[in-house]
């Protein structure tokens, strides 16, 4: 039981082309910036948008096959959807919302309500059954929306930014809750998000989409350690450089080199965290083997630390303490030296 999808959508200034596989019980997080085409993928999977080209197969049922002119409407796909603002029907109670799918499929009212109540119970939302959507908090509305999608026993569950509408305070709780419910779901799940933490927590596998194309996919750990694009590197908070490795040195850019702890060869990605960078006003003579000159481009507060953007032959981000900023008198335009230990640098084939 699984989902196999190839989706091509062409618009005037945009082309989306993705190949996606999700196994039963697996949660795939589709991560990407706004406008990358994430929601378009969901709409195509749900049947709300007809791809220009492609084939979507869910549990041996062909949902879409453009070559053979197959395109099942949403009603005939076993797909459940939960969107960012949940879209609970405002004129129905929570219970009626959950029962809607069953009623639409011909289940008699009584039986539908009994079944819907059981799902509310499962979601820990039985006390909310008589409430109207406007009387629900964001977290409660999300549980109702999830119950509404799951009650018709879909084989594919689609979540579009399911936590984006929540305030920062409740998000961690609801996220943990959602993760538990997704673990219990035995079908395929695709979660669309632009929040890397959400993708890392919810996804068994992360697929990164940029400009309509998949740029990287893999388990969360792999992605966090070895980003392959600037976007992913920024998301997971790593500096990413591309270069050519020869033994224990990688050349990056025109005239900069990075010393490596291990030997490597060929095109490589070089990554290190901003916290591994130390800044000084003069060329350092310490144990750090990588030192590059540069100029401060930006200074901003980043949690307890200060994040410095350094331009130069090796552009990078450095996290330093506020004390260091004061001592070095760092401001945009300051000339600085950046230093990184070779042991802090991760190298992997490009």
């Amino acid at each position: 039981m699984s989902l196999r999808a190839r989706i091509v959508v062409r618009r005037e200034s945009f082309r989306l082309g993705v190949t996606l596989g999700v196994d039963a019980g697996q949660v795939v997080a589709l991560l990407g910036p706004n406008g990358a085409g994430k929601s378009t993928v969901l709409a195509a999977l749900a049947g709300l948008l007809r791809p220009d080209e492609g084939r979507i197969v869910l549990d041996d049922v062909v949902l879409v096959d453009t070559e053979r002119g197959v395109h099942l409407p949403p009603q005939r796909r076993q797909v459940g959807m939960v969107v960012q603002d949940y879209l609970l029907f405002p004129h129905m109670s929570a219970l009626e919302n959950v029962a809607f799918g069953l009623r639409a499929r011909g289940t008699p009212r009584e039986a539908a309500h009994v079944e819907a109540m059981a799902w509310l119970d499962r979601m820990g939302a039985d006390a909310l059954s008589r409430r109207r959507p406007r009387e629900l908090s964001g977290g409660q509305a999300q549980r109702i929306a999830l119950a509404r999608a799951l009650v018709v026993r879909p084989r594919l569950l689609l979540l579009d930014e399911p936590l984006a509408a929540l305030d920062a305070g409740t998000r961690p709780v609801v996220r943990a809750d959602l993760r538990r419910h997704l673990k219990a779901f035995d079908g395929c799940t695709v979660v669309v998000t632009h929040d890397p933490l959400e993708a890392l927590v919810l996804g068994d596998r992360i697929v990164v989409l940029e400009h309509g194309t998949i740029v990287q996919e893999g388990p969360p750990g792999e992605l966090a350690r070895h980003p392959r694009t600037d976007y992913v590197a920024r998301l997971v908070g790593l500096n990413l450089l591309r270069g050519e490795a020869h033994g224990q040195v990688a050349t990056v850019g025109a005239d900069a080199a990075v010393a490596l702890a291990h030997e490597a060869a060929g095109p490589v990605h070089v990554a290190f965290p901003p916290s591994a960078v130390t800044l000084s006003l003069h060329r350092p003579h310490g144990s750090a083997r990588n030192t590059w000159p540069g100029r401060v481009a930006d200074v901003e507060q980043h949690g307890d630390l200060v994040r410095i953007t350094v331009d130069g032959p090796v552009p990078l981000l450095a996290d330093v303490t506020p004390l260091a900023v004061a001592e070095l008198a760092l401001a945009p335009g300051s000339e600085v030296w950046s230093a990184v230990k070779a042991t802090e640098v991760a190298v992997y084939p490009a």
Binding site: A46, G47, L48, P73, P74, Q75, R77, V79, G80, M81, V83, L87, F89, P90, H91, F100, G101, A104, R105, R148, A149, V152
Partner: protein, 270 residues
Amino acid sequence: MSPATAARPADARVPVGLLVPSLVGLALMLLPLAGLAARAPWTRLPDILGSEDVLTSLRLSLATSTVTTVLCVACGVPLAWLLARTTLPGRAILRGLITVPLVLPPVIGGVALLVAFGRTGLVGEWLYETFGLSLPFTTAGVVVAQSFVAMPFLVVAVEGALRTTDRRFEDVAATLGASGWTTFRRVTLPSVAPGVLAGAVLCWARALGEFGATITFAGSFPGTTQTLPLAAYGAINRGDAETAIGLSLVMVAVSIAILVTLRKRWVSGR
């Protein structure tokens, strides 16, 4: 009232160039109503309004406008849905045509109806020869004339409501397995219910006040086609000012009642 206007001093001077024309305009609109109230035979009003002729036209007016409203809702809501939700070719033109009766002189509408549904008309001849059905100068004809002028009010109101609702609710309903009809009935319709209600009230009011198309297409026969406005016109024509004023007062009362009903939606400007 917005905070900005509330903060202004209440005694701000109004320029004479604005004050005078607005008072003239106001007088033009309010004096006729004041005249009706001043000349109304208040003491004899119960007798006038209780007379068999007046009651007959009142009953006919209420019955035909109500049937017209039901007909307009039954056909107008699906039509509005078609205009708002489908990619029908020529939709823009269709939308324009539907609003024609809003600006067309109703008498011209009546002429058009005669040409179409008259006994020798485009459709009328076929209707008469096939079913023996003749619409002109019948109560059914009154309903047709009223529907012609009142339908646009309903379609425009409902289409506007449909356009402002979030279509993603309908998408969600579809993913939950609801057919197009179920989605319309259980999701779309409840969300535009206030728009349908407002449209129906306007439609009813317009039907109640209909004169030109009705008198042209259906004539003015007491008991079958003489509605309230036609009766008022007939009364004034034969010099019976008292009855005309009495009937007018009924119409004014109904109009004000409708405005009060719809106040929250339009008159308050929100």
